[in-house]
């Protein structure tokens, strides 16, 4: 059973979103990091880039696979986790904490997005 924090919202593609001071912090779920196994590389989007919900914007690679990360909501990238590329293992050890990827300024209010609640995501991944 993976860890699915209740205060976050989730995309079907396994990204999580935490709203904090008007910004959306984005990472990947515990389920996702477990499926990936040891993360050895991450590629983050450029600050200033405008993303549409569902757009591929980052890459996470394990020894065996490379996976795209998709913008869970539309918005502008205002900050990235600059320490993450040098510490890719944080994605495995702290997927909801130090392993965060980037922060977006949302283009639309939260009610307008189609993110899943923790319960909905949990029933998706089992």
């Amino acid at each position: 059973m993976s860890n699915v924090p209740r205060d976050l919202r989730y995309a079907k593609s396994h990204e999580w979103v935490r709203l904090s001071e008007g910004l959306a912090v984005v990472g990947i779920s515990d389920h996702a990091q477990h499926e990936l196994t040891d993360v050895v590389f991450v590629e983050l989007p450029a600050v200033g880039r405008n993303l549409r919900a569902g757009e591929a914007c980052a890459v996470v690679e394990s020894v065996k696979t490379a996976s795209d990360i998709y913008a869970p909501i539309s918005g502008e990238v205002v900050e990235v986790n600059a320490a993450l590329p040098a510490n890719p293992g944080w994605v495995n050890t702290a997927p909801y904490g130090e392993g965060w990827f980037f922060k977006l300024r949302p283009a639309a209010p939260p009610e307008a997005d189609s993110l899943l609640s923790a319960e909905q995501y949990e029933s998706q991944v089992g």
């Binding site: 050895v40 020894v63 490379a66």
Partner: protein, 389 residues
């Protein structure tokens, strides 16, 4: 329905993540590829290699017959010695790479790749039918009744003798215990009365053994290894770590660096060809390539720090300007030992010298790389494995 080795339940109990490999359901990892890789380099790891094939070739003409189909020279082998060798088609293309052991004066054991068992045996059978001395050769496929495990790492020699308690040398044993075997040597030992082969070889670059056992006892061998080895740091390891370990050593993997479209000379394996022996399948092409040179060569390279992990089928380009395409990577990974992306590729021979800059294309971006001498990984000074004889 995927095939399963006798150790399948053991893998499940250990929580292994299973994948399909060559028609088999095999463990790709247990605790994690990076952890398992590091464990083999620093302590010890045990791998299920039961999916591999075993064939016995015996008789007064066995050596001569095998010398007509394998590249390396079996005349070099005394009883209990083994050699890496290749099986080539008539154009010098590689059908398989394998290990051949002389287990008796007229007896040979071949250990062949899981993905090539059927192809190899069909080829050998066909060649044997054409061989004039075929009445003096008996070939048996023992794949279905034999299993195998590989136990690899600097600590293995410290616990391997305890795996079989009591005296386990058999009448024909070369050594009284496994730890006395020199590199590339094989002997039979008694595992509670059942003969089991121990060979001091491996595919990781570390010291260790490959143990070939009848299906009925391989679970006990596995459990016994874990029981005596765990206090020394032994862990079960899967195919993921097996791949990163062999890539660091630049050991070829059939289907990647080797195929029927590549020759041992192009792959840099000339030392495993018996140039002085009588004719063998593919010899003509190999001799010509050795004399005239080849158009392409297998190289190893590393990318700059910070580049993504490498994988197979990434484009390799000439450095600078137009970035002329040179080929594709045959293998690649993020080297757990070196912390950078590493790989191998066939490139035009002009680009094959160590130090030559290249570029590797990953997702449309180009990253600087450099050709390096093989192997990519070298054991730290002072920790040399036993010398081959």
């Amino acid at each position: 329905m995927l095939k399963r080795t006798p150790l399948f339940e053991a893998h499940r109990r250990l929580g292994a993540r299973l994948v399909e490999f060559g028609g088999w359901e095999m463990p790709i990892q247990y605790t994690g590829i990076l952890d398992e890789h590091k464990t083999v380099r620093q302590a010890a790891g045990v791998f299920d290699i039961s999916h591999m094939g075993e064939a016995f070739v015996r008789g007064s003409a066995a050596e001569d017959f095998l010398n007509t189909v394998l590249t390396n020279d079996l005349r070099k082998l005394g009883v209990g010695q083994g050699q890496y060798t290749l099986l080539c088609n008539r154009a010098g293309g590689v059908i398989d790479d394998l290990f051949a052991y002389r287990t008796g004066p007229l007896d040979f054991l071949l250990i062949i790749n899981a993905s090539r068992v059927d192809v190899d045996l069909a080829w050998l059978t066909a060649r044997l039918l054409e061989y004039p001395g075929r009445d003096e050769v008996q070939m048996t496929d023992a794949t279905d009744r034999l299993s195998a495990v590989a136990v690899q790492g600097p600590k293995v020699v410290e616990f391997i003798d305890a795996v079989f308690p009591g005296s386990f040398a058999m009448e024909d044993s070369l050594a009284t215990r496994p730890s006395e075997l020199k590199r590339n040597r094989i002997s039979v030992f008694s595992f509670a009365g059942t003969p089991v082969w121990f060979a001091r070889t491996g595919y990781t670059g570390e010291d260790g053994f490959e143990i070939v056992a009848p299906n009925a006892v391989v679970n006990e061998v596995w459990e016994r290894l874990l029981s005596v080895g765990t206090p020394y740091g032994l862990k079960p390891c899967g195919l993921g770590a097996r791949d990163t370990l062999r890539t660091e050593m630049c050991f070829p993997l059939y289907g990647h660096e080797l195929s029927e479209e590549t020759t041992p000379v192009e792959a840099g394996l000339e030392v495993f060809v018996g140039w002085d022996k009588a004719d063998f399948c593919g010899r003509q092409t190999l001799v010509a390539q050795r004399a005239e040179g080849t158009k392409r060569r297998l190289i190893a390279f590393r990318v700059a720090a910070g580049a993504p992990p490498l994988r197979e089928h990434y484009r390799v380009l000439a450095d600078g300007g137009d970035g002329t395409p040179l080929g594709e990577t045959t293998s690649g990974t993020m080297s757990p030992s070196l912390g950078v992306g590493i790989g191998m590729a066939y490139v035009p021979v002009e680009f094959a010298e160590p130090g030559r800059p290249l570029m590797i294309e990953v997702r449309g971006r180009r990253y600087p790389a450099e050709v390096v001498k093989k192997p990519l990984y070298r054991r730290p000074v002072g920790t040399v494995p036993p010398k081959p004889v």
